[in-house]
Amino acid sequence: MIDAGSMNATTEQPASHEGSGGFPPFDTSTFPSQIFWLVVTFAFLFVVMWRVAGPRMNGVITTRRNKINGDIAEAQKHRGDAEAASAAYQTALAGARARANAHAEETRKRIGSEIDKARADADAKAHEATVAAEARIQAMRTEARTSMTAAAQDAAIEIVNRLTGETVSASDAAAAVKAASGS
């Protein structure tokens, strides 16, 4: 058996060199060598892929995927933060605006009330002054009337005295003036 196999293999070679050895892939004498080397080389490649190349590729791809996912998550977080900050800013802005408006309104009211008060004061003062002036005018008018009556009385006494030479008493003159003035 052993001799036959080796004989077959060794005698086959010169024949096939001449290109007449039938259909080469069906030459069973080469099968043991083919399968032996297939097993050896395939097993070697399998171990390399299984133990070295595969884990390396898997590691790199997994690391990269994790990194990308991590980065995306971080970017999402940053965006959330930015949105929150923007919302906080808007709220703060609205609050500040409301406060400013309130402040302005208050100031406006205060100034308005001050103006009103000042106007009222001025009005009151003017009224007071008017009343005082009217009173003074009245007094002056009364005084003028009194002095005019007295002057008329004196004039009447003097006129009567000049015309008649009689001396009229002050009370008569007063009555006559009163009657003449009709009041």
Binding site: M1, I2, G5, S6, A9, Q13, S16, H17, G19, S20, G21, F23, P24, P25, F26, D27, T30, F31, P32, S33, Q34, I35, F36, W37, L38, V39, T41, F42, F44, L45, F46, V48, M49, W50, V52, A53, G54, R56, M57, N58, G59, V60, I61, T63, R64, K67
Partner: protein
Amino acid sequence: MAMHPMEQFEVKPLIEHPLFQIGGHDIYFTNQSLFMVIVVAVASLFFTLAMSGKRMVPSRTQSMAEVSYEFVANMIHSAAGDDGLKFFPFIFTTFVFVLFCNVFGMVPWSFTVTSQIAITFAMTAFIISMVIVVGFAKHGLGFLKLFVPEAPIYLLILLVPIEIISFFTRLVSLSVRLFANMLAGHTMLAVFAGFVVMLGAAGGILSILSVGPMLMIIAIMLLELLVAGLQAYVFAILTCIYLNEALHLHDHH
């Protein structure tokens, strides 16, 4: 010198004496062995060196390695689900081995490892055995339900043998598909190359005509590159589909 188109498929010892014997069979270091060693060395170096940087932003070679990794991972995930990923190292190795063997075979004067039925059949036999072992390990005797479709009992007498035959036919279909594709493409290339040589040697107007088969060679080369990738993909995805049946029986729909 006219070359026989089949000469490229001959497995010839590079070292005249057998290295040793296994079970009475001589083991030679052949041209095919050399190319298997080259393919595996290149593939191993490529996938370890490309990933040696472990860069977050990959270089071109690292990107190629990662793309092939994710391609196979997605393929397994879609064909065999989450638990199929346990078989990632094996399926990835199968895909890379077949792809590199196919593509290396495109280099002139190289040897196409996958054009040997012994290689493709050995791989297929291992895959089908693995499917059977995984099936029985996961489902026990329930794995046999794979061969019993939902049908009335009188039809099962007919259907069960058909299911069993179709299961074991995969041994042939999976191995012959890859082997025949590689063999046919390379035979065609050799035949057209022979025409170029014959027309060129004929002289005169016939030498000019040799441009025709030359252009054909270029066209077939491009086609064969496509076939090389496609057959590696088909081989790997069918492995996934068979594994899926072992893992999920018929319930994975």
